[in-house]
């Protein structure tokens, strides 16, 4: 097929350019495609665009929503953690050995005596059990510091004179004015710490 066509072309070559030849020349005409409607495509693109925009909007919104939730939950976690720590702190305060010992002593407990041990292999009793006694009590608080002499004067001892006759009766002694002694007439003794 190709060789006659080549011969033809060479033969008519000088004639090319003349309008008649141009007109008579056979050409391969593309087959006309049937005109398809563009509506579905436009619709699809629009749909994709619209879907994208809406999806993006929704995604963004949900992310924002998540951010709000994160912030709220983080705040809640921090509050709860702080609460837990404060509670732990309270427990530690409550189980402070000093506090427990003071409470126990107030309830009349003392440090236990020596226990005995039962050896289950040899069936022997080891040790001499001894009961807990009040002497085993431990002094839990420091002794109060000795006061300077100025603040801890000698005890003032008032001798109560016996009153005979018209003097005040025992009951009315309390009504005596306090002028005689600065401490209301009662003899005072005080421990020296």
């Amino acid at each position: 097929m190709s060789s006659p066509a080549t011969q033809l072309r060479t033969r008519i070559a000088p004639l090319i350019g003349s309008p008649a030849v141009e007109k008579a020349r056979l050409r391969v005409v593309p087959r006309r495609a049937p005109q398809r409607t563009r509506v579905p495509f436009v619709f699809l693109v629009t749909l994709v665009l619209l879907g994208g925009v809406v999806g993006l909007l929704l995604f963004n919104t949900s992310m924002q929503q998540a951010a709000f939730a994160t912030t709220a939950l983080e705040d809640q976690a921090a509050t709860l953690a702080a609460r837990q720590q404060t509670l732990e702190m309270e427990i530690d305060t409550l189980r402070d050995p000093q506090r427990l010992a003071e409470r126990a002593q107030q309830m009349g407990m003392v440090v236990s005596g020596t226990p005995a041990y039962l050896d289950l292999e040899t069936h022997r009793v080891l040790g001499e059990p001894s009961p807990a006694t009040a002497e085993q009590g431990l002094r839990l608080l420091p002794r109060p510091e000795a006061k300077p002499a100025v603040l801890d004067p000698e005890p003032i001892v008032e001798e109560v004179r016996q009153v005979i006759g018209d003097g005040p009766t025992a009951g009315s002694l309390d009504d005596l004015p306090d002028a005689e002694s600065p401490l209301g007439g009662r003899p005072v003794t005080r421990d020296r710490d």
Binding site: M63, T71, A78, T86, D92, D96, L126
Partner: protein, 595 residues
């Protein structure tokens, strides 16, 4: 463009519009000029913004809506051996006031806050009214639940100008328990004890976060950089909180009753060298260190060195037994006094010549007998033994300002020094050193390094401390150690011994009293005061604990047996009960004391 002025339409009257607008050329030029001027202003501004200092403006733009938060690392806890916290960090807040907003309601607000927080009304009031200030502390280190509650309640009542900021709280739940070792925190940095020594481990590294916010919420797609904080490590000590507490209370009672200056007590696990308690008196409350003397905030047990006195005799005797120079039954003649190099050595009790065995010398704590027995040592032998027992050498257990004590150097070791060292003078020790030395005898002659930290930790001086790095070494033979322990049991003999009060009912206890003259701080000479002590271990034939009690300058005339003995008994009895150590049920030592 046709113009009215050039082609006036016929028939129409000329309007004066042109005269108002001017000629088009003029208007054009004027317009261009105006536009050019405006544009050049824009241009100039552009150069100013972009050319001269672009960064500052960029930063200002970025800072809009950007939040920078420091993420503080959580400071590690200091725990006892059972995981009980001795020091812990708690989330806290500081409450801050803005005086600009609080001035009006200052008295009411101050009253409200003083009632709810630990703050003083009168010191708070002027701060709420401070002129020109917008930031005044109301309270620091408030547990965050308390702070939030107070601030919310204040807002409900209509008080304005209060806000909170992060401010971690360091809590010492047990107050004075082990405070001398744990130390305490200042406002922003550690000031004493483990807090300071192990700050590098405890502190951790702060992190930071930088993010954009909008309406109080983090923007999900905004700038977001987070450097996570690295929390500090916890430090686990070998201390037992309850035993430490009990030891401190017994010690306080002992020092107070003896009217002493100070005291220390050590409880040591015989086999591992772990210190279960290391008590000091006077001590302080770690939660309120300012209430105590600065001198009471360190550990005297580690920093105060003293002459150990007669407790030292057990080391001398253990050496003699190990060197094969004596046996517990060795017979010694003990004269009423001993003259050496022109000096007289006396015993603490007057006596005629006594015929004591070596066990008797220990039981009655005879200086003369010990010196006589120690004469069997070759030159330098006693010093070698004492050095192996760990005297004169730092224990490096992680306590600050430890004093190493003094073991006289070989060149200073005269025969007089030799005599005096044999019964515990002319050398100085700290309490943990001495406890570890006595523990060597309890542990069958093997010295275990004492330790306070479980595992290992590095101090701020770069020293690795802890149970992982504790080493052991044999000092005397097993036989010598057991022999010494049997002699030490006789110290508690109700008739012949110096410390019957140290006995723990049902248990075999070995111990030794010490009453040493004390070198005064002022005169650097013996000033007539004493250091009394008692060291011992139980059960004597299978020891679990070594306890050492020292009281400085008792004024009730008591000695090591009468002051230290009962305290030892209480502490040891508690430790044995607490750890469920049954008596061994074997026969106690009945070594003869005399011959």
């Amino acid at each position: 463009m046709p113009s009215d002025t050039r082609t006036p339409r016929p028939g129409r009257p000329r309007k004066p519009r042109g005269s108002l607008r001017g000629s088009p050329l003029f208007r054009l030029r004027f317009g261009f000029l105006a536009i050019a001027m405006v544009l050049s202003v824009f241009g100039a501004r552009l150069v100013q913004l972009q050319g001269i200092d672009p960064k500052a403006y960029a930063e200002m733009a970025a800072a809009e809506g950007i939040v920078n938060v420091s993420l503080p690392a959580k400071r590690g806890d200091i725990l006892d051996r059972n995981g009980e916290p001795l020091a812990r960090s708690v989330e806290g807040l500081r409450i801050v006031a803005d005086p600009l907003l609080t001035t009006d309601q200052a008295p009411e607000l101050a009253k409200f806050l003083a009632n709810r927080l630990d703050v003083d009304y009168f010191s708070l009031l002027p701060r709420l009214r401070e002129e020109g200030s917008r930031y005044e502390y109301v309270a620091r280190r408030v547990p965050s639940t308390v702070a939030t509650r107070v601030v919310d309640e204040a807002a409900d009542r209509g008080f304005k100008g209060l806000f909170t900021e992060r401010d971690p709280v360091r809590d010492y739940p047990a107050h004075d328990v082990a405070a001398n070792l744990v130390g305490f925190m200042g406002i922003d940095k550690p000031l004493a004890g483990f807090e300071q020594t192990f700050d590098g481990l405890l502190a951790g590294t702060d992190g930071s976060a930088r993010y954009q916010v909008g309406g109080g919420n983090r923007l999900p797609l905004g700038d977001n950089t987070v450097v996570e904080p690295v929390d500090g490590q916890d430090i686990t000590t070998t201390l037992d909180q309850d035993l430490q507490w009990y030891t401190q209370r017994v010690l306080r009672q002992t020092v107070e009753d003896a009217r002493g200056d100070s005291g220390f007590a050590v409880v040591m696990d015989t086999r591992t060298g772990e210190l279960l308690a290391l008590a000091d008196h006077p001590t302080f409350d770690a939660a309120d260190p300012a209430a105590s003397d600065a001198t009471d905030r360190g550990s005297r047990a580690m920093s105060d060195v003293y002459e150990p006195g007669s407790v030292q005799k057990v080391l001398t005797v253990a050496g003699l037994l190990d060197a094969g120079k004596a046996t517990p039954e060795s017979r010694l003649r003990v004269p009423s006094e001993l003259r050496r190099d022109g000096r007289v050595i006396n015993d603490w009790f007057p006596h005629d010549e006594l015929k004591l065995t070596l066990a008797g010398v220990i039981a009655k704590s005879s200086n003369i007998g010990t010196v006589n027995a120690a004469d069997h040592f070759g030159r330098g032998e006693l010093r070698r033994y004492l050095a192996k027992f760990g005297l004169g050498e730092k224990t490096d257990i992680g306590v600050r300002s430890e004093a190493s004590g003094v073991l006289p150097s070989s060149s200073m070791w005269s025969s007089l020094v030799d005599d005096r060292v044999a019964f515990g003078q002319s050398l100085s020790v700290n309490a943990v050193q001495m406890a570890a030395a006595v523990n060597t005898i309890a542990n069958g002659g093997v010295h275990v390094d004492p330790s306070l930290i479980q595992g290992s930790a590095t101090t701020d001086d770069g020293v690795e401390v802890g149970t992982d790095v504790a080493t052991t070494r044999r000092v005397v033979s097993e036989k010598a150690a057991r022999g010494t322990a049997r002699m030490m049991e006789r110290v508690l003999d109700p008739e012949g011994g110096t410390a019957p009060g140290a006995a723990v009912p049902g248990y075999r206890v070995a111990g030794k009293t010490g009453t040493a003259q004390r070198v005064g701080e002022e005169c650097a000479c013996y000033d007539g005061t004493f250091t009394v002590s008692f060291a011992g271990f139980a059960p004597a034939d299978d020891p679990r604990f070594t306890v050492y009690v020292v009281v400085q300058n008792p004024r009730n005339g008591g000695g090591g047996g009468s002051v230290g003995g009962p305290a030892f008994s209480k502490i040891m009895s508690y430790a044995l009960k607490r750890y469920g150590v049954p008596p061994t049920g074997t026969k106690p030592s009945n070594l003869p004391l005399e011959w």
